[in-house]
């Protein structure tokens, strides 16, 4: 009983969020008369939201260390975009070298933030607020307030367009026209099924608790079907977006990092109880420092993705991106106090935000109203989390009940 309750309450949030995501997708699919899941729209949806997923992965790491957020990421995205533009367009440097330099700049910015936060112990909120101003200002200086374009083709091919279609299709004009996407989907789906079965076998062999075979197969098939459906949609348009590779790598790497490595474990420990972590020999300052280095590194990645999609370096790029990333983390179940949250949950959170944005835009709902809806969704998600976890329940409720009991007595 205790166990059931434990694992249930641990996963309930993510499960509920997954259901919520499906409900939101179905809802907007209906409200937009099927436009939401049209192949072209799905392709655009991925391109529009790739940067949010990348930023949210970094933001999750920061939040895990104790509810610290990074307000500077939007400005860092813009600054890195501005650097990329200057290197490639103004100075005509080699695109690959430029990309490497941009990533290095991201790491340096992160080290700057991390130094003040971890070693001088200035609250992250303040350091990154200052970073937000500094790097927005530097962006304007670098770009002299102008927009740079266009980027060389080699750079754009890093993160725009689709993976080349080596296999052809039924009909290049319409319908199922991209066999490559279908193949990718099939490989991934088969991989998931194999992994689920192997995992069950492993757990059984080692004597851990494991699910029944039908349950395992059912789960594997549902996931596989979802993947196939997704890639089938993509196959009906120009194929799999290239940016999906970057996003996929980020998701896999950060899932692995947070769940399987010593470093990841230390992250959760620092956020869960910093004093206990320090007494356990965890270098808490170093962990915080690295979290911010990592954040700005991923902001640089997002900056490159974003400017490639925009095909230009704009001084206004990245405005408000930090809020999308923070929102995605909290909707996805991260705790505002740190120590709790997963990459998978954050992905769900980012998708919920993305589908909301996209769906409401298709419906022609005005930007102002969209903001109101997104704000309410964020509040609802976190309130649900807080209330479902609270053992003490809401203080004003207990007081109310006590009064009543007294009155009855």
């Amino acid at each position: 009983m205790g166990k059931l309750k434990g694992s249930f309450s641990k996963n309930i949030k993510q499960f509920v969020m997954l259901i919520a995501l499906v409900v939101i997708i179905v809802l907007f699919q209906a409200l937009t008369n099927g436009t939401l899941l049209k192949p072209m729209n799905v392709f655009n949806l991925i391109n529009q939201n790739a940067y949010v997923v990348v930023l949210a992965a970094g933001m999750l790491v920061c939040i895990l260390t104790g509810g610290n957020i990074d307000l500077s990421v939007g400005s860092v995205v813009a600054f890195v975009g501005a650097c990329a533009g200057t290197f490639m367009i103004t100075w005509e440097w080699d695109p690959y070298l430029s990309v490497l330099l941009c990533l290095l700049i991201g790491i340096l910015i992160g080290a700057w933030h991390g130094f003040w936060i971890a070693y001088v112990r200035i609250p992250a909120f303040i350091v990154t607020l200052s970073g937000q101003l500094i790097f927005r200002g530097l962006t304007l200086i670098v770009l002299k307030g102008l927009t740079l374009s266009p980027f060389p083709r080699a750079f754009m091919s890093l993160s725009t367009g689709a993976i080349g279609n080596f296999l052809g299709g039924l009909d290049p004009g319409s319908g199922l026209r991209n066999f490559t996407s279908l193949l990718i989907g099939l490989v991934l789906a088969a991989g998931v099924v194999a992994q689920q079965i192997k995992r069950r076998a492993d757990r059984k062999r080692k004597g851990y608790s494991y699910d029944s075979l039908p349950m395992t197969l059912l789960r594997a098939l549902v996931i596989a079907a979802a993947i196939l459906y997704f890639f089938w949609i993509l196959a009906n348009y120009i194929g799999t977006p290239i940016v999906l590779i970057t996003v996929g790598i980020v998701l896999v790497v950060y899932s692995y990092l947070t769940s399987k490595t010593v470093m990841g474990r230390h992250l959760y420990a620092v956020g869960g109880n910093e004093k206990a972590a320090r007494l356990s020999g965890v270098k808490t300052d170093k962990i915080k420092f690295l979290a911010y280095v990592n954040m700005s590194f991923l902001a640089a990645v997002a900056g490159l993705i974003f400017s490639a999609r925009l095909q230009s370096s704009s001084p206004q790029a990245g405005m408000g991106f930090e809020l999308d990333a923070i929102g995605a983390c909290f909707i996805g179940g991260a705790s505002a106090y740190g120590g709790i949250g997963t990459v998978g949950g954050t992905l769900i959170g980012a998708l919920i935000m993305g589908v909301l944005n996209n769906g409401m835009s298709i419906m022609g709902i005005s930007i102002d109203l969209q903001q109101v809806v997104k704000g309410l969704v964020l509040l609802a998600a976190v309130a649900f989390d807080v209330i479902s976890k609270q053992k003490i329940s809401l203080p004003f409720l207990t007081r109310l009940f006590r009064r009543r009991r007294q009155a009855e007595a």
Partner: protein, 516 residues
């Protein structure tokens, strides 16, 4: 009986797993100074928290009568309305507000359109005169000393029309002069204004100086109430410690080896107030296979000693030598200490011991993840096996090692904490209050684990505020008072009376100038 100002009858207060108060009775007469004494954990502060409404009516059993009327306080405001004011050991003043602002915090002198500052400071000055505090009421709290801050607390109580003043260890942070002033002030209030006081204190000489009656608490129960003029110190000490020694400790045949840990001339300063010594030139040693205890009151510097040894996680300007198996060591971080085979099991398992939001498994392996990982990647199988191993060895009651530690009982959490530090494979374990807040059975299990560990040749340094526990478990006991080591006793020499006597003698040393 009829004129008793306060009567508390049959007060019982339960915390998860612990009976903090068990049918306690307390009667305080109008116009007296009533002392409450007892060892750490005897239930003194809990009783006062019940009285002042910090634990609201309904969360305890028993009745409170004040001036003959039954009281059912929901919060502090309710008790303050009747003139019951509590001043805690940790002063509750806001450092960056002025004396006047602090005095009327929550009770602001408002006029038309907001706070009336003239009235605030005028009234503040008036109450400050009553307690003999010569300061400008506009001075910030952070700019005056602890002694004056204590006076501000009392002036604040006067501003609330206090009828019954409760002081929890009022002189623990004060020097002799300030202490004497404070005690004289209480006497003056009693004779001139008829203010009744309850004073909790360890300092028996102060109690003898100021109080009319003494109530002794022990293990959450009232032992007796005595007239101060009729008793001796020895009589009070006997009442405080005189409990029956039942067979609460598992037997162990000591097999003690050579010196394992040596600490010499160890001095530590407070990390914030860097001119304050918290550990003063302490030397001690622990042999292999030996359990050594450190006795002392809360605030004697025992925790600070252990934490400063454990990779300097506490303190500033640490000096002294540290040797393990004769080899001098320089431990600069907790990670260093763990690598060199030290473990420190904190007294505050929730505050800085466990990560409550993590599973048993993750907590057990946290302090030495490298034992279950390769090149920074955790081997899930190894980790699982290690965690299950300790769950079984220590009989941690949970369905599996994935269970969140925050959901376990106190005793099981303590076992996870001990398991975590056994996992780190230490040679020297420092246990700080290893059985605080857990029930008798869980205590016995922890004692058995300690015996097993020394049986394996490990050395244990144990800090405890429960004297019977030290007497029952330790081969040797050091006594610490105010940062100094004041005695060392073998198992045969040690008894509760001897240790309490040493502590009281040493803490009195500084005050003989006036107490006689």
């Amino acid at each position: 009986m009829a004129d008793a100002l306060l009567q508390m009858r049959g007060i019982t207060k339960l915390f998860p797993g612990v009976r903090a108060l068990d049918n306690v009775n307390l009667t305080v007469q109008e116009g007296e100074i009533h002392a409450i004494v007892g060892e750490n954990g005897a239930g003194k502060s809990t009783l006062m928290n019940v009285l002042s409404g910090i634990y609201p009516y309904g969360s305890y059993e028993g009745d409170i009568f004040f001036e003959g009327r039954e009281c059912r306080f929901q919060n502090i405001k309710d008790s303050e309305r009747l003139g019951i004011v509590i001043i805690h050991q940790e002063l509750a003043l806001v450092p960056y507000l002025s004396i006047g602002e602090n005095m009327f915090l929550g009770n602001e002198q408002t006029g038309f359109g907001g706070i009336n500052w003239d009235q605030t400071y005028e009234k503040a000055a008036e109450h400050m005169r009553e307690v003999g505090l010569k300061e400008d009421p506009r001075t910030l709290i952070k700019d005056i000393g602890v002694g004056k801050q204590q006076l501000v607390e009392i002036a604040k109580a006067l501003a609330k029309n206090v009828r019954l003043l409760i002081l929890d260890e009022p002189t623990s942070a004060l020097n002799d002069e300030d202490s004497l002033n404070l005690l004289n002030l209480l006497k003056q209030f009693r004779s001139e204004r008829g203010i009744t006081s309850i004073m909790i204190s360890h300092k028996l000489n102060e109690i003898a100086y100021v109080s009319d009656n003494i109530t002794i608490l022990r293990d959450g129960a009232t032992i007796e109430t005595l007239k101060t003029s009729e008793v001796t110190e020895a009589r009070i000490i006997k009442g405080m410690v005189g409990r029956e020694m039942v067979d609460r400790f598992p037997k162990r045949v000591p097999s003690i080896g050579g010196v394992a840990l040596e600490i010499e001339n160890w001095t530590v300063y407070h990390p914030l107030f860097t001119e304050r010594k918290v550990v003063d030139n302490v030397s001690l040693h622990v042999n292999a296979g030996e359990v050594v205890g450190i006795a002392g009151l809360i605030g004697a510097g025992r925790t600070e000693l252990c934490q400063s040894v454990f990779g300097r996680v506490y303190g500033a300007k640490i000096s002294g030598t540290l040797k393990k198996y004769g080899k001098p060591l320089e431990l600069l971080s907790a990670a260093d200490a763990i690598r060199e085979g030290f473990a420190y099991i904190t007294e505050d398992r929730k505050g800085d011991g466990l990560v409550l939001s993590n599973s048993i498994k993750h907590n057990v392996t946290l302090s030495r993840l490298e034992l279950v990982s390769q090149r920074g990647v955790i081997d899930a199988d190894l980790e699982q096996r290690a965690a299950e191993d300790y769950k079984e060895k220590l009989d941690i009651r949970a369905t599996d090692v994935e269970q969140q530690v925050g959901n376990l009982s106190g005793g099981n959490q303590q076992k996870v904490l001990v398991g975590k530090w056994m996992f780190s494979q230490p040679d020297i374990m420092m246990l700080d209050e290893p059985t605080r807040g857990i029930d008798v059975n869980a205590k016995y299990e922890i004692y058995s684990i300690i015996n097993r560990l020394v049986g394996e040749g490990k050395s244990i340094l144990m800090v405890s505020s429960e004297l019977p526990e030290l007497l029952g478990m330790c081969d040797r006991i050091y006594v610490m008072v105010e940062g100094r080591m004041v005695g060392e006793l073998t198992r045969e020499q040690a008894s509760q009376e001897v240790i309490m006597g040493m502590i009281i003698e040493a803490s009195k040393g500084a005050q003989t100038t006036w107490a006689s």
